[in-house]
């Protein structure tokens, strides 16, 4: 099917861009590959009928975080040695491989349909072989707004508080050093 072909194309692009972040020789290119892989994440969200999350992903990650990272790349002095690995490369590759194999084994062998049938009895659409998407996703942005302002109100306020605290912390970190420099 057409949507499946696009899905596999986007997932190949996503994985290859993420690998290129680690294996490119120049840290600035890594920042550009990070922006590309964030775009691929946004494409994934659009295909999963989560339009609002996709738009937010493009705005926040491709627009803001990539610019922040590109700015901090300018602090790198030795651009040739900037992508070096430390001495834990082989150990952490082994640990990552074991983690990946075990979690993929679990995901591919878990009975998602049985799980869905046991905890949510009698629903019209089972977890892993949904032919059509849930009807609520057609007007998902509307319902997301209602859900955030009712069920998730405290979490929403707290995430705003975390954003404020991190911005104040960032300013304070830089401000203290400025005062010391002026002495």
């Amino acid at each position: 099917m057409f949507i499946d072909a696009i899905f596999y194309l986007v997932s190949i692009l996503l994985i290859s861009n993420s690998l290129l972040i680690l294996f490119s020789k120049n840290v600035y290119r890594s920042a550009v590959f990070l922006a590309f892989s964030m775009l691929c994440f946004a494409a994934m969200y659009f295909m999963l009928s989560a339009e609002f999350i996709g738009v937010i992903q493009i705005l926040v990650y491709v627009g803001a975080v990539s610019v922040l990272i590109a700015l901090s790349v300018m602090l790198v002095k030795d651009i040739e040695k900037s992508t070096d690995n430390n001495r834990l490369l082989y150990y952490s590759s082994a640990i990552g491989l074991i983690f990946l194999v075990s979690i993929s084994f679990f995901i591919l062998n878990f009975e998602w349909n049985e799980f869905s049938r046991n905890i949510l009895d009698g629903s019209n659409c089972l977890l892993s072989n949904c032919g059509s998407e849930p009807a609520i996703l057609i007007e998902s942005t509307n319902w997301l707004g209602k859900l955030i302002t009712t069920d998730f109100m405290i979490a929403f306020q707290l995430s705003g508080l975390i954003l404020l605290a991190s911005l104040i912390g960032a300013l304070a970190l830089l401000r203290i050093r400025m005062n010391d420099d002026s002495k």
Binding site: F7, V27, A50, G96, L100, L137, K146, L147, I148, R177
Partner: protein
């Protein structure tokens, strides 16, 4: 496009981010890998929300299906806050050490 495919892709991206976090010397690359791990988690949340049992339109169905997307929004907010704070920490480390490599001798108190 099945749930298992999406979860495996999310696990692959998470492991790539984990490798970058554990093995890179440059602080900027470690932060990029952290962002990858955040987004892999958000992708699996959105995948579960897409393949959740649907039901009729209504508040119950909305809170069952769309909770994953709400979690993705919170993950994006926390990721942006973390990026801003971590990059200001990078600048602070650069002022102290004139280098942003992660070595054994970085003491956060000095920063």
């Amino acid at each position: 496009m099945t749930l298992s495919n999406l979860l495996v892709i999310s696990a692959i991206i998470f492991v790539i981010g984990l490798l970058g976090t554990l093995t890179k010397k440059s602080t900027v690359l470690v932060i990029m890998s952290l962002e990858l791990m955040f987004n892999a988690a958000a992708l699996s949340f959105v995948a579960f929300s897409r393949f959740a049992p649907g039901g009729l339109l209504g508040v119950e169905s909305a809170s069952r299906v769309l909770s994953g997307q709400v979690m993705a929004i919170f993950i994006i907010a926390i990721g942006a806050a973390e990026a801003a704070l971590a990059l200001s920490l990078v600048i602070a480390i650069y002022r102290e050490k004139s280098s942003i490599e992660i070595t054994n001798s970085i003491d956060i108190k000095e920063v």
